[in-house]
């Protein structure tokens, strides 16, 4: 296990999500037996060094995501753990039926890695954003879905995926210089949310890069006398309902912040929990709206979606004061 400390956290943050992923694969290749597939995005995935050092464990199938999934399943059916990578929309929506049939239905040990999910592709626009990826897969049974909060957690998640048996989607948000959430050692377990801050007025459930922004927002609000909890719900499935319920029971209003559609992501998971358990609290979802709007840079999109630290703190202030 790579040590999480300030030096590593800073280095991974500079490498960014994809660079950290590639580095993790390279470093873990000596310890674990796995195969990596790419659909012509080896360099973009940070996997060039892996390809060069472990050529017998790497295949490029070309720009053919449906084949990518089928080939991965075929290799996995022979007992290999397979990592398949592409940009988030292309490795989910583009080949969804192959995922359904090969990975979910046959329960194949394939890890899908969705690169530059959320708004990371900035000016590329909605063709390249990963706003529906987790939600789409959340409709397909038996696929574990994880959105790591920062680069340290990406590393942890990739290592956890080495020994995790079954289909899994690892959703990478954030580009280079993604703000670190973790600078010290902690335990990452698939399916177990992580409380990051304890407050008495409300909670923000979050995942991916908004985690760091939620933490910043909470700090600002704390200075103003609003005491805010932050919980890193990195795993959408299996969802840590026990932890989410514990926090929902404490507050009249709870928040979710995610770089994902407001449909079928973290906000929806919390909404379902509140409804099904009759928890009675109000939910405010901060997420991409259910429509395609004007696109632009990462900062532009995060601002418009209300996911910057300032926007999150403004929203919480507003919603809680409206509550009286």
């Amino acid at each position: 296990m790579a040590e999480i400390n300030r030096v590593n956290a800073r280095m991974w943050s500079m490498l960014g999500a994809r660079g950290t992923f590639g580095l993790a694969m390279l470093e873990l290749a000596a310890k674990y037996d796995f195969t990596v597939l790419s659909a012509d995005l080896c360099e973009s995935s940070g996997l060039a060094k892996f390809r060069d050092n472990y050529s017998s464990r790497f295949y490029n199938v070309g720009i053919a995501e449906q084949d990518l999934i089928g080939v991965a399943a075929g290799i996995a059916s022979e007992g290999q753990n397979v990592f398949s990578t592409s940009f988030a929309p292309f490795i989910t929506a583009r080949c969804l039926d192959q995922i359904r049939m090969n990975l979910a239905y046959m329960k194949m040990n394939v890890k899908l890695v969705g690169l530059s999910s959320g708004y990371e592709q900035g000016n590329s626009g909605y063709s390249h954003y990963g706003l529906e990826d987790a939600g789409i897969l959340n409709c397909i049974p038996d696929i574990t879905i994880v959105t790591p909060a920062d680069c340290s957690e990406i590393y942890q998640c990739v290592e956890a995926a080495m020994t995790y048996e079954g289909p899994m989607y690892i959703r990478l948000t954030g580009g280079r210089f993604t703000p670190p959430v973790y600078t010290g050692d902690y335990t990452f377990t698939i399916g177990k949310g992580i409380p990051l801050a304890e407050g008495t007025d409300t909670v923000i459930f979050t995942c991916g890069t908004p985690t760091a922004y939620a933490m910043k927002a909470a700090k600002v609000l704390n200075k103003e006398g609003l005491s805010v909890s932050v919980v890193n719900m990195h795993t959408l499935r299996p969802f840590d309902t026990a932890l989410a319920e514990e926090y929902c029971r404490k507050f009249g209003t709870v928040f979710t912040a995610e770089e994902h559609s407001c449909k079928n992501g973290l906000g929806t998971a919390v909404a379902e929990l509140i409804a099904e358990k009759g928890l009675g609290c109000r939910l405010v979802k901060i997420a991409a709206p259910d429509r395609y709007e004007k696109a632009g840079s990462y900062d532009f999109m995060m601002k418009n979606t209300g996911l910057t630290p300032d926007a999150i703190s403004d929203r919480i202030r507003k919603e809680l004061s409206a509550e009286g």
Binding site: T35, D67, A72, G74, S77, E78, M101
Partner: protein, 271 residues
């Protein structure tokens, strides 16, 4: 090993069992494609594929993928004839909660290699299994049975490109070219003109056979060199609904229930 008379007997029994299974479901069944693929599947399980029914998941087994997953009846019958399970089990076909649905569900203990039913996916899976064989130094072969209609799926061509690119010698794709698909003749629905040259262009070694003639099938498979750096494609020209006169080339029987009267007529024809 190759005994044409024995194969013909098996094919005859296969058609009889397909009729019985379809009749006993009391509902619609995929007659057409099951009947067109009888000789090919019979040949593969009798003469080509290497397997051990006492150890069905053996690493060295050849892997057969029914990519045109709706044609399960001829497949299940071949698995029974080969000894993967007994004759009684065939009657679990389409039984609630049972393992023999009308599209295959991966179950290695029964000899079923992959779950299919959504077309155009078996070839990719087989390419993956072949790449894994290379990694592990195993010499098993893959046969994938597809339909000509299935080749409408773009994913078929994605996997064909990969098979050609990686020069997967131990992969045989068979296209059951019965000329019909759900909405009619393949040449009317989506005419891809020339099946043969598409595949040779991608690096496949292509064979064309009368898919109801065991000698032709045997000749093609006997000629194959499984270390020549080329994936293989067999264009198996067949008649949809083969063996039952009123079903032959009649697309009504793609997926249809059978009346008692027609069942009796079919039964007498297959004697």
């Amino acid at each position: 090993m190759f005994d044409e008379n024995l194969l013909k007997d098996k094919a005859k029994e296969s058609r009889q069992l397909i009729l019985e299974l379809a009749h006993d479901t009391k509902g619609a069944a995929h007659f057409g494609g099951s009947l067109s693929s009888v000789e090919m599947i019979t040949y593969l399980y009798s003469c080509f594929l290497r397997y051990d029914t006492k150890d069905p998941a053996n690493d060295e087994r050849d892997r057969f993928i029914l990519s045109k997953g709706h044609c399960v009846m001829s497949y299940y019958v071949a698995l029974y004839q080969s000894g993967f399970f007994d004759r009684e089990k065939l009657w679990e076909f389409e039984q609630d909660g049972g393992p023999l649905l009308s599209h295959p569900v991966r179950n290695l203990s029964l000899g079923i290699e992959s779950s299919n039913g959504s077309l155009g996916q078996g070839l990719s899976f087989a390419v993956g299994q072949q790449l894994a064989a290379r990694q592990k130094g195993l010499g098993y072969r893959n046969v994938v049975l597809m339909g000509d209609g299935e080749c409408n799926e773009g994913s078929v061509w994605e996997s064909a490109m990969a098979a050609g690119h990686y020069g997967i010698s131990k992969l045989v794709a068979v296209i059951d070219c019965n000329g019909l698909q759900s909405d009619g003749f393949t040449k009317d629905v989506l005419n891809i003109k020339e099946m043969f040259s598409h595949w040779t262009a991608l690096g496949f070694k292509v064979y064309q056979v009368n898919g109801h003639d065991f000698n032709e099938i045997h000749k093609a498979f006997s000629e194959m060199d499984f270390d020549d750096g080329h994936p293989k494609l067999v264009i198996s020209d067949t008649v949809k609904g083969k063996g039952i006169s009123f079903m032959e080339n009649n697309n009504v029987w793609h997926h249809e229930p059978i009346t008692e009267e027609l069942y009796e007529k079919a039964r007498s024809e297959l004697q």
